[in-house]
Symmetry: C2
Subunit: 346 residues, 2 copies
């Protein structure tokens, strides 16, 4: 098995590209795929101040690493979710990456802890709101990504969703023809109605490739799945797609990118908006005002996040959860920036 | 496990309906589902002369049986495909069903043999045309269904496609977002441009249910899959959907029927017709004339079927492949009709 580029010994085969790569050219392949995704979907400008949602897993650490490698001004944002040992361990991976690989490149890690800041954790929140834990967790994270980006002065939130994630979500939406979600499933959500732009630069790369990228790059990451995700339907959808991918390499990528090219627009009419829930659907209806408690855009008096915090017996944040980012333009070469210390807020 | 209706011992559980049934009420359930599909999609009128495509497998024999049971004037149509022992055996099952269960109810079996009538068989045709056997076979069968219905004076062709078949085809079309096919995937295709109406009354019933229906009803059918279908991608799609169905009963049915309700129309615009091939796509473009050899509607001088026959070293049919059906109205009660003998053509 030889590297497609240099004919040296390959360390990974990529059947859907009919290619094998050595470490060096695999790393370059990953960078190229991220650059291509960014260019194809107009995800980022070189001047953007980027906030990367970091969990301590392979995808979020890899995307942070790749964006720094490509010269973007990208800070990390870690949320302590209060999921027992899992959260302690994942935070450790995020902090270690920040100290060893991000701070030397002028970036910092911002942290918000749900228990410290809001007096609740995801398990309690999910139970109190009678929501599926993944749903309560996802809603909490999205709220905090939005709030952190706006308060911190970031132009864009980056998440580490990879091709497997996006294909599995698409599969789930297609299985039940959730047309409103299908109309919004894109690798870029534009800034709108007080929400920051959100982008997914890993959509051209798979889970397996991100694990390999971390290993090859010496990035230590949390391998375990979240203990609360057991039984999550998307894991089943991933398995189903993987079985098909093994028989017909390239199917997963074709499923997702053909959807974007040939089908997504057909669901974007918004005539199903009345079926959906959530702030983005509210935004589609153009009926948003500020939450009376936190100021986030919402169609109700109290936003869904503040309702969850209240039901879980928590309290509002006592001030901004994120300090504004240093807006000094970054030099064109990439020496470490002056503010290299990880900032823990609060 | 008790029957939902009579509380007697159940012989089958149907997780997606959260129900169990005894033999009698399972048979009634199948009839009800067929009636509901026919009514929901305006498939058949009581006066229709129906031609049922019969392979000797469970689905086609079950649908023929169910339509006769419901009082439709439904003849069977069997095509000898020349696939060695498989064809000999499958023909035997079709003829046995006709003699034992159809003819006593006033229906007849019409047969056309590819070798006798056209001088080629499916394996030779597929090789000669360098087509996947399932593709060459499907095209040949669709051509003969159309021709037989038109020549025989039938109003509608019935096929035994069940929910698993339709969901698997939908899955395949969605995996590659074949928008033109998605726009045409419906349980009813209206008569148009010289093609007869085609309907699928089993779309509300699964493979497993059709096997159970045959067993319970004493219908002997060919269990083996066609030997040429090995590696057919739809078998993989069925497996993938079945794994999801086991975890979430009802998903398969929701996938298919939600598509029809919420998504199919979005693909029906016809603006992708230029991507597709085949007579139906030609029809969508409105560019059809008669094939110079067989008279079937086609956009080329020689239709795709006649080209296949020619490449496979076969010859045109020497006359009509099906004699016109007896158009005497059937009495409202259902005694055997006078013409109870199976007619073999030629």
């Amino acid at each position: 098995m030889k590297c497609r580029v240099c004919r040296g010994p390959a360390i990974i085969d990529l059947p859907r590209h009919n290619a094998n790569f050595c470490s060096e050219h695999f790393t370059k392949f990953c960078r190229d795929q991220v650059e291509k995704a960014i260019a194809d979907f107009d995800m980022l400008l070189p001047s953007d101040r980027v906030l990367v949602a970091v969990s301590g897993g392979k995808d979020s650490l890899a995307v942070w690493d790749l964006l720094l490698e490509l010269g973007y001004r990208a800070d990390g944002f870690y949320i302590g979710l209060g999921i027992g040992d899992y959260s302690d361990t994942s935070g450790g991976y995020a902090r270690r990456f920040a100290a060893e690989r991000a701070e030397p490149r002028g970036a910092r890690l911002i942290e918000v802890d749900l228990v410290d800041t809001y007096g609740y954790d995801v398990p309690t929140g999910a139970r109190a709101a009678r929501r599926n834990p993944c749903s309560a967790c996802g809603m909490s994270k999205r709220h905090l990504f939005d709030r952190a980006a706006i308060e911190g002065g970031y132009d864009v939130v980056v998440t580490g969703h990879n091709l497997d994630d996006e294909a599995a979500v698409l599969f789930g939406n297609v299985l039940h023809w959730q047309t409103e979600y299908l109309g919004r499933q894109r690798p870029v959500l534009s800034a709108k109605d007080g929400f920051p732009r959100k982008v997914k630069p890993l959509v051209r790369l798979t889970e397996r490739e991100m694990a390999a990228y971390c290993i090859v790059s010496g990035i230590d990451y949390l391998v375990d799945e979240c203990p609360m995700s057991a039984g999550n339907k998307h894991l089943g959808y991933k398995e189903a797609l993987n079985e098909i991918e093994v028989r017909s390499p390239g199917t997963k990528s074709d499923f997702y990118f053909s959807f974007l090219r040939h089908a997504a627009d057909r669901f974007a009419s918004g005539d199903e908006a009345d079926e959906a829930d959530g702030a983005a659907a509210d935004a589609a209806r153009g009926a948003l005002g500020p939450c009376v408690r936190c100021g986030s855009p919402t169609s109700t008096e109290l936003c869904a996040f503040c309702r969850l915090v209240e039901r879980a017996g928590g309290h509002p944040a006592t001030g901004p959860v994120v300090q504004p980012v240093d807006i000094t333009p970054r030099p064109s070469t990439t020496p470490p920036r002056p503010d290299t210390t990880g900032t823990r807020v609060p």
